[in-house]
Symmetry: C3
Subunit: 326 residues, 3 copies
């Protein structure tokens, strides 16, 4: 059984967790065990969660978590079953607690466990090049090929009939059947997420993974970062050209076509049948509808509704753009 | 003798080819042998060709091919010597037949034939790093060097005095004398060409190669895709900076200078002495004249005539652009 | 003692140097030894320097160099202690002389001296992956890790607690403590600098290095070129995302954040606390102040003063841009 997600090092006693965020003095049952850290919606009894913005008030009211990292202002929204843990900076404290549960999710050190595939059980299962390395907790389907010098690090599951190129690095990724990943890609690295600090930035954990749908293709030299608290997803039958950058938490739909050197910033969500021309950029935290066409070189800084065709920077209706730029 | 082009698996009996495109019922001499698939202009007797657009009517009238994949509407333009093969989608059928002649031109699986250079006849001929791999059908000139972990796959010819960096991957490429290719490049991969299909996209064959003229230089992390039915060409004494993407069928002239992160989309043709600033993009199927200067960051979406200087997105005369953007 | 700078092959007799630039006939003390080539300001007695633009008149008047490559027009600005060497093209002649002192600074051939780390004194000092290569003149601090297939070439100094990813190539670089360099980067390659020539471009030497400040991070697939006559610098606690290109001689300040696919052209200088959005580009030879914010996708072609926020191409005040593009 493969699990591409990070290993939870818990449970931990609540007293150990409080110490991590400088709340040692808080009076609680010190021996109570905390199982996991999750968002407000998915957390259960004996989990810890976090609540940092009014936006999530309605979800906070119903959380099942036993503890919640939050602020003085927000704490009264929580149900009685959830003990508030009031801190100065919710995200920094959440980051510290997440690091305790998932210590290996912060840095992207190379995988010490990786061994030559010829020394593993996979040696006769896949067609593979020279110098291929495989980490712990990897699953490979049937009829796959893996190119020279490629490194499949820990926590990777690859389906059937997948073609992995040469010089590829993959970690914390779930790859479905019939997927092609071309040379020099880096898939599953942590995202560009951290708390800026003038002495030394504080990296926050990335406990999400990358999920690649069946029949998809990733071109040469692409980077697809894994998610922080959610996953980065590439839908089925979606093709990416060369040198594309997909940031953490991005969701791309099905049957989409993305040309070379496109960049999609963190947490944006794209629908199905989206077509994006070369070198276009999409800002973070946007929603792009189904059947959208984005012309090459465009810079998208607003949400785009279904069936739109846009162009320019900032991207607008393509007919308006071409009229304005005759 | 090196031949960087794909190996033709033909000849095939016409009956085998008709089966491929669901025309088994057509009455022809089933045993007739077909030698190759080529375009309307270059095909000869006993070749098969394709004709999918009125644009090529005049060439179609004179084709020497014995068979032609085409449509009900276009078939009457063909000469008597050429039997029309009427299909619904000319390009899809052409793709299927091309795949039959050139099966290895569709996917870019890593090269199974690659061996450590130390086990080949080249071991004393070039100055080479650790872990260098060489595929079948490779020729190396004198006085070359090849860096660590570099993979020269099948069908590559390298001239004299060439410097190939480390972590480079090259296939289906003809490199002339005095060429430098820097670290982490991928040269000769198939282009981003396929027929979109909502269940599973259909890749079409790329039987072209990459040709790099003498005295040229390719910077770090560049990708230069090989052509589909024609070749991708970089002229002599042309220098490319880092992280540039050159798509399939692109032709770049001589003495040109292309700065970092530029992208040139498929089938565009550039003249000589062209200068392109960093991050500029050129759309597909365009013609850019001689002595053209394109400012960094520009997006070119129209043909550009000789001696022009352009800037902006869409790129226009540089003086007009600067005046409009004071 | 590690010195990441290029080795000076001098001293040379002045007669050997004059021959290099076709000034054999000049009457000087042929046996006088020349120690180094430096700029007007830093050169000392028995050094050779160069002077090619009126801009540097005031510095030229005070140079301590014994010889100066210059033009007929400029030569009279030099002090009596400095013998003018009048040539047609100062930069080409300077390049030739620099090549004589620093022959290995012109091409970026792979490092022939690199050996497997397991065969070196470092084998027990760092946590390292498979197939790691180390060149001559390398220093590694304590508590570092180096990923699989990574090549640390000649003239590299790495501080304590540094994490180097897999498939990384580094040369001529000084890395301070607590630096992270992610997978597939190429750091310290020569810049994209040469004298264009219609038969064969003439590369000029790059004798500078790359300096990376402590606590900084470089994302996957970045290229950071070394300087030509000065250094390329990334300040402390500055974070770079994936697929960024930093050209030669660029100086980036401290505590800066640069998002994916940004490109910074040669010799531009950035202040501290600069934030740059994804895919933005900065032209060469610009000065960007402290606390500047540059929106994603922008193209900067002018200097930017402290505390500005800019957007667009050409980049202008962000409020003006958004108003003009409603």
């Amino acid at each position: 059984m493969i699990n591409p997600f990070f290993k939870n090092n818990g449970p931990f006693k609540i007293s150990d967790i409080l110490q991590q965020i400088n709340l040692d003095d808080l009076k609680v049952d010190n021996d109570q065990e905390i199982i996991d850290i999750k968002d407000l919606f998915t957390s259960k009894k004996n989990d810890i969660t976090f609540f940092h913005s009014k936006k999530y008030k309605d979800i906070a009211k119903c959380t099942k978590a036993s503890f919640c990292i939050t602020t003085e202002v927000l704490k009264d929204e929580l149900p009685k079953s959830c003990t508030p843990l009031v801190v100065e900076n919710v995200l920094v404290s959440t980051s510290k607690v997440t690091s305790k549960f998932y210590p290996s999710s912060i840095n992207d050190n190379f995988d010490y466990t990786a061994r030559y595939i010829t020394e593993t059980k996979f040696k006769d299962k896949v067609k593979c090049g020279k110098n291929v390395l495989i980490g712990d907790n990897v699953a490979l389907g049937s009829n796959c090929s893996i190119g020279h010098n490629t490194i499949i690090e820990q926590n990777v599951s690859i389906g059937d009939n997948c073609l992995i190129g040469s010089n590829v690095i993959i970690r914390n990724t779930l790859i479905n059947n019939n997927v092609t990943i071309l040379d020099n890609c880096v898939i599953g690295k942590h995202g560009f997420g951290f708390f800026p600090n003038n002495e030394r930035n504080l990296r926050y954990p990335h406990i999400g993974i990358v999920i690649i749908g069946e029949n998809s293709e990733i071109g040469c030299g692409c980077t697809v970062d894994r998610g922080s608290m959610s996953n980065t997803v590439i839908g089925k039958n979606t093709f990416l050209d060369n040198q594309i950058h997909i940031a953490h938490n991005v969701k791309i739909g099905e049957n989409s076509i993305i040309a070379g050197q496109v960049g999609i910033a963190g947490s944006s969500i794209l629908g199905n049948n989206v077509r994006i021309g070369g070198q276009a950029g999409i800002s973070g935290h946007l929603t792009i509808g189904n059947n959208v066409e984005i012309a090459g070189g465009s810079g998208v800084i607003k949400n785009i509704s279904d069936n739109s065709k846009v162009m320019g920077y900032p991207a607008k209706n393509i007919r308006d753009f071409l009229k304005d730029n005759k």
